[in-house]
Symmetry: none
Subunit: 230 residues, 2 copies
Amino acid sequence: MLIEPRYEGNLGFVARVMKNFGFSNLILVNPVDYGERARRFASHATDILDNATILDSSSDIDKCKFDIKVSTTGIRGKSENRPLRVPFLSPIELREKLSRKSGNCGIFFGREDHGLPNEVLRDSEIILSIQTSEVYPVMNLSHAVCVVLYELYKSDKEELSISANQDELNALYSRISDLIRKIDYPDYKIEKTELIFKRIFGRAILTGREAHTLSGFFKEVERKICNNED
Amino acid sequence: MLIEPRYEGNLGFVARVMKNFGFSNLILVNPVDYGERARRFASHATDILDNATILDSSSDIDKCKFDIKVSTTGIRGKSENRPLRVPFLSPIELREKLSRKSGNCGIFFGREDHGLPNEVLRDSEIILSIQTSEVYPVMNLSHAVCVVLYELYKSDKEELSISANQDELNALYSRISDLIRKIDYPDYKIEKTELIFKRIFGRAILTGREAHTLSGFFKEVERKICNNED
């Protein structure tokens, strides 16, 4: 998924590398107006462009029902205290995480100048960053997509349908959110703790059974607190 | 080394991905006339373009004194009887080959329409090919360069983040164990829940900061339960 891509050439090149590596489901959020120039860059991948899904805004991402959301960033978080961009995975680590998993994975790339909005980063389970030279770390959008899809294409296609789906994960996250709000944490701590749980569960890629068991556990803990309060 | 590249945009993009992955020595054999357009695509890597070595023809390649010559091809040889294009290495295999070698390695990319001339392929010790979809295997030149340099740049030097040490993890696990025992779970459920937390945190490889934050969270939850019981 490309969020607000600004250059037609990049749109075309992204379609081309997608087809080079066997991907077809392109989603564009509020893209630049595109036409012939994008199609020329797409070369023999104009079908990917023509079949792209267009969303109005990044607040519509949830409609896509992704089981796992991956945000990409060229700016790597430096401090473990600010979990918005850390810890990040490399493309090869993402491949290892996703291999032998089923489900619907959305990979988000931000606009060429500003990258992804913070709310998209915050809402993603996994942060992905490509290891580049410190001298000039900023990659062109289509080359960043190319590297990520190249890595994912290498993975074997074997699937085990054990990973938790979005409903199961959302149920777990709301259990945790409810519980955190019962223990008199200040707001900043609530947000940070929620984010850390999301990052950890995202990296671990929970099974349905695990998500279910943890939801049950957190529900029980909350019930205990509430019962005691009565 | 690009042999007879035909498009200025590709020249610029190749310079950019070279700089992204810490490479600087660009050699162009009989390239298209290039100028402002190439520089625009190069973005902050115009220095790579400006310092490029220009050769008149591929018969001059020997002047570069490469210790090892690598030809890239999008057309993979099918028959082992015709060794012009077989056996080929993947970029990852090339990285493994080169990682234990010193010396001067030339990697050759052919022109956008025809690829490399047969005499260059013949003269190379190694044939390199990127695994792509059979539906549309032909990559743009700059994306092919990007994948190869990305692979070569990748190193195992970089650590994901500082991971939690055994003491931090044990502290977290005992917090969780204490909490589980406060919520009237039967024994078999206690064991299962403890194990699931351990498995998930093990797969996620927690940072020290994450372990610390979660320990704090579970401690707070337990305190809340106990306070309410008083």
